[in-house]
């Protein structure tokens, strides 16, 4: 568990972080909470030449209300998401997902931006952000651009962020007073999800359902959402949970079992709305 050698830069500002990204290109990784990156480095799954530590950019840690959007700074910790009153009132699904991540030590260090940028197909927060119609704001040398969450995750631990871009904000559609559910099935209490489901009710039966552990990226359960919108009962709609999904078939779980779990968990989530 010894990482390869790397150099370390602590960014004093967003601008400096962007400059470091531009200078080092693909050889650089941003360090936020470090709870995914550092284990990956110790296992030598990644060997960045340069770590740019953005952990002290406090201006990137916030939760604000902006019209019908809840905007969250990328350095906001999971622990803050669990306890923040604005999150609790307007996007409680996000708090529910944050609460299921690791243990308190992890949640005190881990950040939402780090989790999303790491783009693990089983990341809890990714499901919530997808179901909350999240928009991820990326800043690069040529300015700022919005990336809808549904387009952000491009493959196993890869995202639409360019090598010289920094995730600077997550914008979520407020769901004040609406039903929500987060269902996670993991082997151990503190494990990654084998399969997870985030469901967010919206007016006019437009329920959003997002899945994790059901393919190379977190994704929306389109078939379930369409069925629900068409008035199909939840119990029947949940049977469509795995439609279009290509879940991994590995030592953790077979693809068939993951598909079954997706149906069960979507059923549970919809029942809880």
């Amino acid at each position: 568990m010894i990482p390869a050698g790397f150099s370390y830069v602590r960014a004093g500002s967003v601008e400096q972080a962007l400059a470091e990204l531009a200078r080092h290109g693909v050889d650089v990784r941003l360090l936020a909470g470090g709870h995914s990156l550092l284990p990956a480095m110790k296992l030598r799954r990644v060997e960045p030449g340069v770590l740019v530590d953005i952990g002290r950019l406090r201006e990137l840690a916030y939760v604000r209300l902006d019209g019908d959007r809840v905007v969250v700074g990328p350095l906001t910790t999971h622990r803050t998401l669990e306890r923040d009153p604005l999150v609790a009132e307007h996007v409680p699904l996000l708090a529910a997902a944050a609460r299921r991540i690791g243990d308190p030590q992890v949640r005190n260090r881990g950040t939402i931006g780090g989790s999303l940028a790491h783009a693990d197909p089983a990341a809890d927060l990714a499901a919530a952000v997808l179901a909350l119609d999240g928009v991820l704001v990326a800043r690069g040398p040529s300015g700022v651009r919005d990336i809808p969450a549904a387009e952000f995750f491009t493959g196993v631990r890869t995202s639409a962020l360019a090598a010289d871009e920094l995730l600077v904000e997550i914008r979520l559609r407020a769901a004040t007073g609406l039903g929500y559910a987060f269902e996670k099935f993991s082997r151990r209490a503190l494990d990654w999800a084998v399969v997870g489901v985030a469901a967010q009710a919206r007016p006019e039966g437009r329920t959003a359902v997002a899945l994790i552990g059901m393919g190379p990226t977190p994704l929306r359960a389109g078939a379930v959402e369409e069925a629900l919108a068409a008035g199909v009962p939840a119990a029947e709609a949940s049977a469509l949970a795995a439609r279009g999904c290509a879940p991994a078939d590995n030592a953790v779980a077979s693809a068939a079992y993951r598909a079954h779990l997706a149906e069960v968990l979507v059923g549970r989530a919809l029942a809880a709305l």
Binding site: M1, G5, P39, L43, F185, R187, A253
Partner: protein, 767 residues
């Protein structure tokens, strides 16, 4: 003090981060050693290019097998000697191929990756089936095939008894491979200075390690000092003779500097030996009442790519314990130890006996299922009664000590409220919205207190005894040196309790030291639940001898006959004369004043005792597990776990309970979570704790613990041992509960670990 739940003396240091583990030890000029591990499961080594690695900054050197060719082979079964590094071929992924030494661990790790090994692949036989196939290639060169040992344990078969039995059934049981995964992985620091070497190592038997190192290097034993400092868990996996125990001293000798090796977790998962991995073919004959008449067992154990001298023979212990707590008149057993292209296997908590307990407890449940009887009833008609103790099993020399197995089962059933659980189970089965309920029983007995010497020397130990040196200090306090080398058991506490009682001194006045061959008299070590049954009795014996010496000096002081003295408070008194008394401290002080003692009196109060057990001891008990199974996912929730243990005299109820908790946790882990697995190419699928499902605190239930204390007549303290009981009892309690929950669906077995997917599939296929 015996029987008191006093807090552990060890904890003040351990809980405040002041323990001293191998990796905490620094020496001037320390160098760091890292292995280059094989990436192939079975291949010829066609080349090792170290040129890039040796030029990296901080790298001292890279060595391969040929550099150690002159070193005698590692201790093993004659004819199956192993070298330190893979020579012309590799036998499993993770096998050490080369060793790198550098100024720091980072440089060493980088250099290890820069060593380029080229391989010519050989057919990989990662499973027993592949290794035993007709076209299998021999894996381990000294052997012509992949069966390293074929052992008929019993001379006779039981075919006639099985034929005569009114009923019979067969089963194939799998006891999967698991990893010990102690908190602290394997570590060695060797410092060769002048003509001798000091080795700090995470080991369970420092004197044995000293003997092996002395032998390999041709040194007299006094020139080799082995220290087992604080050891962060071992569970048997630190009792194998890993190559680093010899490579670190050799490299220290060559380089003239201290050399440290500490495994990373990922290395540990493929390098340090695993445990269990048995396939058991069973046939049992029984009658309509469930009385078991005969048992026939064939065990195949997967010993990995390079045979470990202990791992190769562990099914002998499995065989001896096949009868469990039951009167089974005829048992036939045989086994094969088979090489595969996987990490070697050897001792792991229980080492061979949990596999037996799992087997017989699953068989009893299968008999109950077959007859439509309650598993508790089938146990009752087969249990050995207390009046039959000591009980001679069908295996010569295997004699169970005193215990009341039926009483343990009755206590368990009462604590479980068994009948109510059965009623609730029926209710749940009828309610499709309810989780299924299952109850599993495990009435178990295991073998502990290893020796005696004729048995234990077969495992390579000098003896099966244990030693204790007890010295009274001039102020009446006590220092004890004990020959065991604990790694979490709490010997400082339990041994002090024994001394306090035997010597009449306060618990606080006793310090217990161990683990250093330069300090401690010859000792054996900590394994096989021998701490209390063997070392505890050695400590007791030393205390009795010193108490006797003290009595003689007190008698001289009081001008009385030693037989007329009685023990009072912290000293002695002439019987019936309260004024004629002397405190122990005064007696000890007098023991150092030759001019005030009778001519010829030996100075000081001290004794070294070696206790040789007459026999093994047999901890037993009854464990019960209640599970709920989610119908839609197959997830198993352990909702209650109840333990009734009989380890004989309980020295410290708190540490005994701790042993039960830890053992049961590992047993539940085996039943529900853990498995070391490989793909068909022999690549490890569980080489980190992300993949290897070591459960955490939140995954495990509260434990309800109860004790029955039936003293063993086999040793003066009446103790039996407790370290391995939980791990022996728990797997089948859980599996029996899981199968019980699903039995109405026609499910007869679920293989360990009973993962949600496996359970779901079992339900799915059954319905």
């Amino acid at each position: 003090m015996i029987g008191s739940a006093v807090p552990r003396k060890e904890d003040a240091a351990l809980l405040t981060g002041r323990g001293t583990f191998v990796d905490d030890i620094q020496r001037p000029g320390l160098l760091h050693m890292v292995y280059v591990q094989s990436t192939e499961a079975h291949a010829l080594i066609t080349g090792i290019d170290t040129s890039a690695a040796t030029t990296l900054p901080g790298v001292v050197g890279v060595w391969t097998a040929e550099d150690f060719a002159e070193l005698p082979a590692r201790p093993s079964v004659p004819g199956l000697e192993r070298h330190y590094l893979a020579g012309d071929k590799v036998h499993y992924v993770g096998e050490p191929v080369a060793v790198v030494v550098a100024a720091d661990r980072y440089a060493a790790a980088d250099a290890a990756r820069a060593v380029e090994v080229t391989y010519e692949p050989l057919p990989v036989m990662a499973t027993l089936e592949a290794a035993l196939a007709p076209d299998a290639v021999p894996i381990f060169a000294p052997l012509p095939g992949n069966v390293a040992l074929e052992q008929p344990v019993t001379p006779d078969g039981v075919a006639a008894e099985l034929d005569a039995a009114p009923r019979r059934l067969r089963a194939r049981l799998v006891n999967q491979r698991v990893a010990g995964a102690p908190l602290e992985p394997y570590g060695v620091l060797a410092d060769w200075v002048g003509n001798g070497v000091t080795v700090w190592a995470t080991v369970q038997a420092p004197h044995r390690v000293r003997a092996e190192i002395a032998q390999v290097f041709g040194l007299a034993r006094h020139l080799v000092r082995v220290v087992a400092p604080d050891v962060g868990g071992a569970f048997g996996v630190k009792s194998s003779f890993m190559p680093e125990l010899f490579l670190a001293p050799e490299l220290s000798r060559r380089l003239g500097r201290p050399v440290k090796f500490v495994e990373a977790r990922r290395e540990h998962m493929t390098h340090t030996y695993h445990g269990r991995d048995q396939v058991q073919e069973v046939e049992v004959g029984f009658d309509e009442n469930g009385v078991i008449l005969a048992l026939d067992v064939t065990i195949t154990v997967n010993i990995g790519g390079v045979p470990d001298p202990v791992g190769i023979g562990l099914p002998t212990l499995t065989s001896y314990m096949l009868g469990g707590c039951y009167r089974i008149p005829k048992i036939a057993a045989r086994y094969r130890s088979v090489l595969t292209n996987t990490t070697p296997t050897a001792s792991y908590r229980g080492a061979g006996r949990p596999e037996a307990s799992f087997l017989i407890e699953r068989v009893v449940d299968l008999v109950a299922l077959e007859l439509g009887k309650d598993p508790a009833e089938v146990r009752k008609v087969n249990l050995i009664g207390p009046e039959q103790m000591p009980y001679q099993t069908p295996f010569e020399g295997i004699v169970y000590d005193e215990a009341d197995y039926p009483a343990a089962l009755e206590l368990l059933l009462g604590e479980l409220d068994y009948d109510a659980l059965r009623a609730e189970q029926e209710r749940r089965r009828a309610d499709p919205g309810a989780r299924l309920l299952g109850v599993g029983l495990s009435t178990f007995v295991e073998m502990a207190g290893f020796g005696p010497t004729p048995l234990f020397e077969q495992f390579g130990y000098l003896g099966g005894w244990e030693s204790a040196n007890l010295r009274l200090q001039p102020d009446g306090s006590v220092i004890v040196l004990v020959g065991t080398a604990p790694h979490g058991q709490g010997h400082q506490t339990a041994m002090a309790q024994i001394v306090a009682d035997e010597l009449g001194v306060p618990f606080e006045a006793v310090s217990v030291l161990y683990g250093d061959t330069a300090v401690v008299q010859e000792g054996i070590g900590t394994m096989g639940s021998r701490g209390m049954p063997v070392a505890g009795n050695a400590v007791r014996q030393a205390a009795v001898e010193v108490a006797d010496q003290a009595r003689r000096i007190a008698a001289h002081l009081l001008e009385a006959d030693p037989d007329d003295l009685v023990r009072v408070g912290d000293g002695f008194q002439v019987k019936g004369v309260p004024d004629a008394a002397v405190p122990l401290a005064a007696v000890v002080e007098r023991s150092f004043k030759p001019h005030l003692l009778p001519e010829g009196t030996r100075l000081g109060l001290e004794s070294t005792a070696y206790y040789e057990p007459k026999n093994l001891s047999y901890p037993s008990g009854a464990h019960g597990c209640v599970v709920e199974v989610e119908r839609d996912t197959g997830r198993v929730h352990v909702v209650r776990y109840v333990c009734v243990d009989d380890c004989g005299t309980v020295i410290n109820p708190m540490t005994a309970r701790g042993q039960v908790h830890g053992g049961v946790a590992q047993g539940i882990a085996q039943a529900l979570y853990e498995k070391v697995s490989f793909d068909a190419e022999g690549r490890p699928l569980a080489a980190s704790l992300e993949e290897y499902m070591l459960p955490g605190m939140l995954d495990l239930p509260r434990y309800e613990t109860h004790h029955i204390e039936t003293r063993s007549s086999f040793n003066p303290l009446g103790v039996k041992g407790i370290g391995e009981a939980g791990a022996t009892a728990a797997p089948q309690a859980v599996v029996n509960a899981v199968v019980d929950a699903l039995a109405h669906l026609g499910v007869r077995d679920v293989e360990m670990p009973c993962t949600p997917e496996r359970v779901w599939k079992a339900m799915h296929h059954a319905s």
